[in-house]
């Protein structure tokens, strides 16, 4: 990554006086975003359940990919065990609602805290390591979390937890797929917004500096390990919260969902779309979910075609389908 240096190109966060100018410049972009959002909102009125199920899944992966994007794309740390955070969130909600009868919404803050703690436990000792070693350590932690979930009594062992209560929102019991479609759409929009704000914050610029040149960043007074840990913990929270809603939607969770392949899948989404670029990551997440569904007809060749397409995309667009702009 040494060959390019990056300057923050995108508009800085607008101060109040600049807001109108900024809006004018961004008009095209905002119009398109509004159209897209509008389309996403009205979709449940026209689409059937199958399409909604797939798209709900896509929004879910958008949240996960954006979370991992903070770690991999913004801070440049390779994480091969991201499914662990997703698992922590899902199991927190699963255990609290099914074993202790806690209201779903109250489990979210608990899950946030739990994933933060996990993030600190994993990140704390390992973030000093070289990037390749970091990859294997995160992989190891991911496996440890999965094996714990499989072996412990409280997580329901290998069969996992069933009968997780579905939440209510303002008196509406969320139990239809179109409810969950909107829930995950809202989560995805929230994730995009937070990612955008983070990217253009002081912290975002620090991540970028550390990613491009760690030594120089440290020399400029940026606490390297602390900054990386922030990325790790924030990424963990994204995964944890997504996990809560995942548990509520599926009503049953088992350790098989949190295998190494899941971590790889999320990583592929981030990299395929374009690390560090929000629309890129969103497209990557969609590609991840839609591609295997669209090509379901070709049966056992499906995953092979998916893998080949992925390889070709990476070879011809090594920075992703829609990469972050670098000069």
């Amino acid at each position: 990554m040494s060959k390019q240096s990056q300057t923050p190109k995108a508009a800085p966060a607008p101060s109040r006086s600049m807001l109108l100018d900024w809006l004018a410049i961004q008009r095209n972009r905002i119009t398109i975003l509004m159209i897209l959002a509008g389309m996403a909102m009205v979709l449940p009125l026209v689409a059937n359940n199958y399409v909604l199920e797939i798209l709900t899944n896509a929004w879910f992966y958008v949240v996960l990919c954006l979370g991992l994007n903070i770690v991999v794309g913004y801070a440049g740390l390779l994480d091969l065990g991201y499914a662990a955070f997703f698992a922590v969130g899902a199991y927190t909600t699963g255990i609290l609602t099914s074993e202790f009868g806690v209201n779903f919404w109250l489990t979210i803050p608990v899950a946030v805290v739990a994933s933060m703690i996990t993030g600190v436990i994993i990140g704390g000792p390992t973030l000093r390591l070289r990037s390749d070693y970091l990859a294997i350590v995160t992989l190891g932690f991911g496996e440890i979390v999965r094996i714990c979930a499989r072996n412990l009594e409280i997580t329901g062992g290998a069969s996992g937890l069933i009968g997780i209560e579905r939440p209510s929102l303002f008196g509406l019991h969320l139990n239809q797929i179109n409810h969950f479609y909107y829930v995950f759409l809202a989560l995805a929009i929230l994730a995009c917004f937070i990612s955008y704000r983070l990217q253009h914050s002081r912290l975002g610029r620090a991540w970028q500096y550390v990613r491009e040149d760690e030594d120089a960043a440290e020399a400029m007074g940026i606490g390297r390990v602390a900054i990386k840990l922030y990325a790790y913990v924030i990424g963990a929270i994204f995964g944890g919260v997504a996990g809560c809603f995942f548990a509520a939607k599926m009503t049953a969770i088992s350790p098989e969902t949190f295998m190494f392949q899941q971590s790889v899948l999320i990583l592929v989404g981030v990299v395929l779309g374009g690390m560090g670029k929000i629309p890129g990551v969103v497209i990557g997440a969609f590609a991840l979910v839609l591609f295997p569904e669209v090509f379901r007809g070709i049966g056992s060749m499906r995953m092979l075609v998916f893998a080949v397409v992925m390889l070709v995309i990476i070879l011809y667009r090594p920075e992703g389908i829609w990469p972050a702009r670098r000069t």
Partner: protein, 304 residues
């Protein structure tokens, strides 16, 4: 069985398993040493090796019978084929990516791994194929410790391969060139070493070793499957890192250490075998936190 017998038997188990890990870990470490790439597809090359060995063995079994000669022949053929496959992968997928960001090339490796495993899955319909060699259970019994002749043959062939490799790297011009390139590629180019050729050779050898391990596993365990490379790939990766990735001796040592850790890990009192992997990954993490370069790795300051 007395406790001592159990521990001795576990020692034997660990060494046998460890020699598999070591063979596969060597490929990881050689490729990493020379182009700083974690070749995630390595486990799948092991799988391909097992499948090609299976194919050759089914073909030659008519000519040579299911003898050790037949097994040896198909192992050599499989090593050559998979070696060439490794070279092809390097040329097609990794060569254009050498200048790209480190993360992109890692993802390329993941993609290659998916192409290989899904390709074999599509070809075999996801079926388990059974090796027809039924090698019998005769063996040496020392007290209560029992080792079959097959196991001894496996460990000996693994050791032979590793010793050959060791001499190749330390005693030949190509080996010297490999070591030199690992230190400074540009300087080697200036000194007139054909860097690309040596990298190609490294991929060939690494892949061939994985194939050898694959055929041996197929013959020994008796089945091949498109998914079989995943677990061993993960374990060999761990072994390479434990030993210090990039170091040839480290990979051999790391393989044996991991094999022993797992064997004794199942024997810890009060803890079931279901925690075995937590134990090996836990040791790995502790080791990296306190000695990040692995057992035999060189200290290196990384500049991204």
């Amino acid at each position: 069985m007395s406790t001592l017998d159990i521990l001795l038997q576990q020692l034997a188990n660990g060494l046998i398993l460890g020699s598999f890990y070591a063979l596969v870990a060597l490929g990881y470490t050689m490729v990493y040493g020379i182009i700083k790439l974690l070749n995630f597809a390595h486990g799948d090359l092991y799988m391909c090796g097992a499948f090609i060995g299976f194919l050759f063995l089914s073909l030659v079994s008519g000519l040579l019978g299911e003898s050790w000669g037949g097994i040896l022949c198909s192992m050599i053929l499989s090593m050559i084929t998979v070696g060439l496959l490794g070279v092809l992968i390097q040329r097609v997928a990794y060569l254009p990516m050498l200048a790209a960001p480190r993360l992109s090339i890692l993802i390329t490796a993941l993609a290659v791994s998916m192409v290989l495993s899904n390709g074999v899955m599509a070809l075999t319909d996801g079926e388990y194929e059974a090796f027809s060699t039924d090698l019998g259970f005769e063996g040496l019994e020392m007290g209560n410790v029992f080792v079959t002749y097959t196991q001894i043959a496996l460990v000996v062939s693994a050791a032979l391969l590793m010793v050959t490799l060791f001499f190749f790297i330390n005693r030949t011009m190509y080996g010297k060139a490999m070591r030199a390139i690992a230190i400074d590629q540009d300087a080697c180019r200036l000194m007139g070493i054909n860097v690309n050729k040596v990298i190609t050779l490294t991929f060939f050898i690494g892949s061939a070793l994985a194939a050898a391990a694959g055929v041996m596993a197929g013959v020994y365990y008796g089945s091949v499957h498109f998914f079989m490379g995943f677990v061993i790939g993960l374990k060999a990766f761990t072994a390479a890192v434990i030993g210090g990735i990039g170091s040839i001796r480290g990979a051999m040592l790391g393989g044996l250490v991991l094999g022993l850790l797992e064997a004794f890990g199942t024997q810890i009192p009060f803890i079931g075998s279901e925690w075995k992997d937590v134990f090996s990954f836990g040791i790995l993490i502790l080791l990296l936190v306190f000695k990040p370069t692995g057992l035999l790795g060189k200290t290196e300051i990384e500049r991204m």
